[in-house]
């Protein structure tokens, strides 16, 4: 029972974190057909930027500035780099973002070294939310989930209740029609790309203070996020929310039970 409750809590918060990253990826894919290989790098960039600036401006300010910075980087990529390869097809866009992911990872190694950095949550957040079955449950996990929920509520309200949101949704369904109706679709695309990147950056800034912050965090999360968006059906926000929670729960139970594909394989005699 204890295991089930803790694993469920861990799984849901991790799933919400995954969704913070996969939401941007799937929104961008749905609207523009661009599978952004560098999306998880934005997550890593968010963590490192927050780590670098939080000693100067403080943890809370860094939580705001880091996503903004990452969002600007994303807008720059959408505005200046992607259009150059667009005419060669989606595969070339994928290749370009793949190259960018490589560059971001190497830049981070260059500036911060090829080892984990000590990015910590502030002392005022380091307490246990409650004690369950004699175990202290860290408040920060709930904080990660809380930030995610607040973000999605805001995003959802923006998408459904504002004019811009309606244009974004129109542009997702029928970009040419929306453009013909006089909306500035390139600007909408740039904005969405930037928002998606900023969301990933925020996820990184928040999660980096809890999970290890190292130059591999991008590729490690990236693979999981790709699985999430494929399982969720590329381009579907609801699907990726469901898949994020599912995979979050799955991985937290799998870690807890030390269950793995390899041990399953060894059951059928493929292991050693």
């Amino acid at each position: 029972m204890e295991f089930a409750i803790i694993s469920t809590l861990n799984g849901v918060t991790y799933g919400l974190l995954l969704f913070m990253v996969s939401a941007g990826l799937t929104l961008i894919f749905g609207m523009m057909g661009v599978l952004n290989f560098a999306h998880a790098s934005f997550y890593m960039l968010g963590a490192y930027v927050a780590y670098a600036i939080s000693p100067i401006i403080g943890f809370w300010a860094a939580l705001v500035i880091a996503p903004l910075f990452v969002g600007l980087v994303g807008m720059g990529v959408e505005r200046y780099l992607l259009p150059r390869v667009h005419k060669h097809g989606h595969a070339h866009e994928l290749l370009l973002t793949f190259g960018l992911a490589l560059i971001i990872e190497e830049l981070i190694k260059l500036f911060f070294g090829d080892f984990p950095v000590n990015y910590q949550m502030p002392a005022e957040l380091r307490f246990s939310a409650f004690t369950i079955f004699g175990t202290d449950y860290p408040f920060y996990r709930l904080f990660i989930g809380g930030v995610a929920v607040v973000m999605f509520t805001t995003l959802w309200l923006l998408l459904t209740r504002t004019r811009t949101g309606i244009v974004v949704r129109a542009a997702e369904r029928l970009p040419h029609m929306a453009e013909a109706l006089g909306h500035n679709i390139p600007l909408v695309f740039m904005f969405v790309f930037g928002t998606g990147a900023a969301l990933a950056g925020l996820a990184g800034a928040v999660a980096g203070a809890f999970y290890p912050t190292n130059p591999n965090m991008g590729i490690e999360l990236g693979v999981i996020v790709f699985v999430v968006v494929v399982v969720g059906g590329l381009g579907s926000l609801k699907g990726s929310l469901l898949a994020s929670l599912l995979i979050g729960l799955f991985s937290s139970f799998a870690v807890g039970l030390d269950w793995s594909l390899a041990s399953l394989l060894s059951l059928v005699g493929l292991g050693d």
Binding site: H92, F98, L102, E106, F111, F112, G113, L234, A262, G271
Partner: protein, 428 residues
Amino acid sequence: MMSFRSVLLLATLLALLLAVPPLLDLAWQNALVNVLIASLFALAFNLLVGQAGLLSFGHAAYFGVGAFAALHLMIAIEDGLAFPTPLVPLAGAVVGLVVGLVAGFFATKRSGVYFALVTLAIAELIHALAPRLEGLFGGESGIGSMRMPFAGIVFGSTIEVYYLTLGWVLFCGLGLYLYTLTPFGRLTLALRDNEQRVRFLGYDAHSSKVIVFAISGMVSGVAGSLLAISNETANYSLFATDVSAQVVLQTFVGGSTVFFGPVIGAAIFALFSFLVSDLTRSWVFYQGLIFVLVMLYAPTGIGGAIQHHIRHRRQLDWPALAAPYAAMLFGGLLVAAGIVFATEMVAVMFGEDYARTREAAGGALIPFELFGATWSPTGPSTYLIPLVLLGAGIAILVKVRRRIDAVWAARGEQGSKTQTLATTGGIQ
């Protein structure tokens, strides 16, 4: 079809590959073995990417299983199996083919970015499983074996390994080239262009794609087993994402629309990593930068650019191009120098060594050594030099590009059409 001139070129290259290596030292011989292996891997990869239009992000899987298959066979030979050592890559071929058939069956059910993701997932799965499967992949440390003598050849020296590798690479490379001349080779190109139409002409598109995938896996497996023969060891890191990434970088920088393009990319990257990996820790960064620049400004890669020039050699005003091209080279060198300077400076100033010396000096921004000179972190010249190099280089490139475009535009109308077609080549 090959012209007489390209046959002559290839013959010269072959003669050099045969005659020169014995004169080189061990490190160079080893580097050339790696160049050959990378070239074959890139050719196998490009069969899928350039010809069938299927972008795989997980080709390390087939390269890796080839290496392990070869090592298992070598272990068996050590234990007394009568099998000729030069034919060990056959093990890689068979296993690469089988794994390619299975993986290809699933991956080719989708196309475009879905295909890319599925191949990535398959490679990641093997990468995650391999260290746990002790018997097959030897756990974290991997497995190793020795090359056994065969027919009087002991395979003890690097040059013997070199010639063995060269033989296999030429054999497989020729095979892949001949492949393009067969009916199935043409079908592969048709699949890239328009899969739907292929089906309406009576072909089973899915089976065809599985076969292409499996052949690519087979040759990748041969390349992997050549690496295993050369290194006499392998571990699960062969399945890592960066192995898959390397072949993507090499193939596209070399040019995926030209048959020999990937060889150019593989040779350049493999040689450079041999030459500079001791000098800099930022080699992967430079690779990524080169790749992105090629994607942005020359999407058909080096091979595509060369082919483009050869195709238009008669229409072009070469004397008019000479000066701008020289200026472009100069501008490019300035930009490269600026980037390298800035990067290496960052590498030093943010490095651990510098942090330690600073600590010893009480936190002061003390001068550092770079490129045989001493630079002060507070001196303006330290920052001005890379900035000026970059700025001047970019200015030259921008200016010279207009002139080059003008010369190109002055050539016949006919050329421009083939150019747009050539540059839209590649993947679906």
